[in-house]
């Protein structure tokens, strides 16, 4: 197995970082990123390498979907990149295992920290230490096709009840009010969580010893989705949709609304030629009356950049991380081509111009945003939640049955920690 893992890691991290007479090599693994981000980072790396004689960045762009497998392999082997760009949930999973360095070990970390949205820093924090620098915020909002709503003189709904009413009217015109991926994939869990948080629900109980998503808020959120489907207000095939099918359904004007994030503007324009003059972003609708006592919010995803725990060039990696991800001008101005909105406070000061549609709505959602709990087993938990939503949307289980069953499985996982 170790041989296989070593091959998986790609043997890329084992070459000497310091060679006399040559610049120190810093290896960066950049997971995913929309085309605009990839274009930027290639340019930024070239600029850095041209300007510096002491450090040379070696950039490797990797598939977003492979980050967990790659991080598992490199953490076990103890060799791999020096810097990674990945989802914030891995701050905890791999921080706990020593696969990532705490930022607190760098002297000027307090100065960097002071430049970032405070609530977003919580997403990379575990046991009092930060295991990455959050660079992009991805709050979940309601993406609206304003053309459809205007055609039938409808307002953007702010509550579940108003959404059902919009659904009733649009159904008369053979249109869906809402669409979302509800297949057996993680996209499903993310959309459900935006609704769960909106109803005041949480993934776990307070001390993270038991599942909490099967409480009143979770059951109501899933019941709401089921009703939308059964009434014909969302596509019957949603239970087979992943991101692409959902995007195609919305972008071709078959549905008016979808729960998405800052990537939506660039995705529907670039991949589906959607006229973004008809795109508006709004807060994800919530129930008129909260179902649990927690603060209502929406899901906030964060992309972070972290330094690996086994790097032999930690200081050089920190220099590179700051140059690329904190000081570069691209983070001072929200840009839809980058896939998310920046975490730097400076990007939202008066006078900063941005081509983002409804940036204020995105910023407000980010302010109210709640992340996935930073639990080392969160990916497994997400999978069980997706399974439950899919069971209900396929019509074979009730919300209570599906969520309670998922909770039993999640409780078993939690008991291991």
């Amino acid at each position: 197995m170790l041989l296989a893992l070593w091959i998986t890691v790609g043997c890329g991290g084992d070459r000497e970082r310091h060679i006399a007479g040559q610049p120190t090599r810093v290896v960066v693994w950049d997971f995913g990123g929309v085309p605009g981000h990839q274009e930027w980072i290639k340019g930024a790396v070239k600029k850095f390498n041209d300007a510096r004689e002491d450090i040379e960045i070696e950039l490797e762009i990797r598939d977003w979907a492979t980050q967990r497998e790659s991080l598992i392999s490199s953490t076990i082997i103890g060799a791999g990149p020096d810097i990674i760009r990945c989802h914030h949930k891995y701050a905890v999973e791999f921080g706990e295992l020593g696969g990532l360095l705490p930022m607190e070990q760098f002297e000027d970390w307090p100065e960097v920290k002071a430049r970032i949205f405070p609530n977003v820093l919580e997403h990379v924090k575990y046991k009092g230490q930060h295991y990455g620098v959050p660079i992009t915020m991805l709050p979940f909002v309601l993406a609206v096709n304003t053309d459809i709503l205007a055609r039938y003189d409808l307002e953007i709904p702010t509550t579940w009840e108003a959404m059902l009413e919009v659904g009733r009217i649009l159904k008369q015109h053979d249109l869906h009010a809402f669409t979302m991926p509800a297949g057996l994939n993680l996209d499903t869990a993310y959309r459900f969580l935006a609704l769960l948080y909106g109803a005041g629900g949480r993934v776990f109980n307070e001390d993270w010893t038991r599942a909490g998503f099967n409480g009143p808020a979770g059951k109501a959120a899933l019941g709401f989705l089921l009703r939308m489907k059964n009434e014909g207000y969302m596509p019957a095939a949603a239970a087979a949709y992943a991101f692409d099918e959902n995007a195609a359904h919305w972008s071709t004007g078959r549905a008016a609304m979808s729960v998405e994030g800052p990537w939506w503007q660039d995705t529907v324009l670039g991949d589906y030629d959607f006229d973004t003059d008809h795109l508006a972003l709004a807060q994800v609708p919530i129930p008129a009356v909260p179902l649990e006592d927690n603060v209502q919010g929406t899901l906030l995803d964060v992309v972070m950049v972290a330094i690996t725990g086994y790097t032999p060039v930690a200081e050089e990696a920190w220099t590179v991380l700051k140059a690329l991800n904190v000081d570069d001008p691209v983070w001072q101005q929200p840009n839809p081509k980058m896939g998310g909105i920046p975490t730097l406070l400076a990007a939202y000061t008066p006078g900063v111009e941005s081509p983002y549609i409804d940036l204020a709505q995105l910023a407000e959602s980010a302010r109210r945003g709640i992340g996935w709990p930073g639990h080392p087993a969160i990916t497994q938990v997400q999978r069980h939640i997706a399974d439950a939503v899919n069971l209900v949307m396929s019509g074979v289980a009730s919300p209570a049955e599906a969520l309670d069953q998922a909770a039993i499985e999640v409780n078993e996982i939690l008991s291991d920690y």
């Binding site: 019957a236 095939a237 239970a239 099918e245 195609a248």
Partner: protein, 312 residues
Amino acid sequence: MTTDTNIPIKNTRPSGRLLQQWLTPYYFLTPALAVLTVVILFPIVSNLFMSVHKVQLLKGGEDQFVGIDNYLRLLGSSTFQGSILASLRFTFLSLPLALVLGMAMALVFNEIRRARPVFTACLLVPWAIAPVVTGYMWRWLFHDSFGLINHFLLTVGIIEANIPWLAQPHTAVAATVVANVWRFMPYITIMLLAGLQGIPGDLYEAAHMDGANILERFFHITLPQLRHVMAVVFLFATIWMVNDFALIFIMTEGGPAKATLVVPITVYRFAFEHLRLGRGAAAAMILLVFLLSVSAVFIRVIFSSQRKQTRE
């Protein structure tokens, strides 16, 4: 029966030359045995070891011996039981369909006298396409709004509204079976075609002269002559279909409602998504034992009928 105790006992120890002769075949076998040990025996033993442990892949601790606990938990899990049923359903719906259609195609191709290689090459296209590509192709063909299948059925008036093929358990199973049959049929056709071409023509001529019609010739000559080829095809197709991962994973990811969550996808989810490597290994061992049993039965049937024929 008597034994002559006066016969001197022959020295059974081989001399140096005899020993050399005795060992020679093993020298030739050693490289192949070494490769088989590394690529087959070691993974199986390693997997068996994992299946009786709680593997702490990331926590850095010692693996904990749990005996058959992983097996017991799996066999008691409704997800695993469901995935065994899903695998059997997928295989035993696909296999007869693919065999019948493959046989029909083989019979047609056997009659083609001109440009047969061209037709054969075209026939092989579905088999040659990567399963991931096949999966995506069928996923979009079965799409409710944009899929060609709904479009065609609506156009000819067979359905009145789009069918969400991949969103309902029974239609999703049917869709994956259709895609699987499409992919496997060429392999079965080619194998049966080779078998058909090996049947002596004089058997048909004799039957024809005896007044056998086309159906009688098929059932009394073609099918019996093909039974060994069909047994081999059946064996390989069963192993491949029970092991199928990519096609179903791409088309449905095991959904909806776990209706297509076949055992290989369950193994993948246990091992690589939930990082319960012990349980994933136990599931893989159960799958291996099942496939070995099926293979053993088939091989026994094939060889026993061959022995019977030889005796006759």
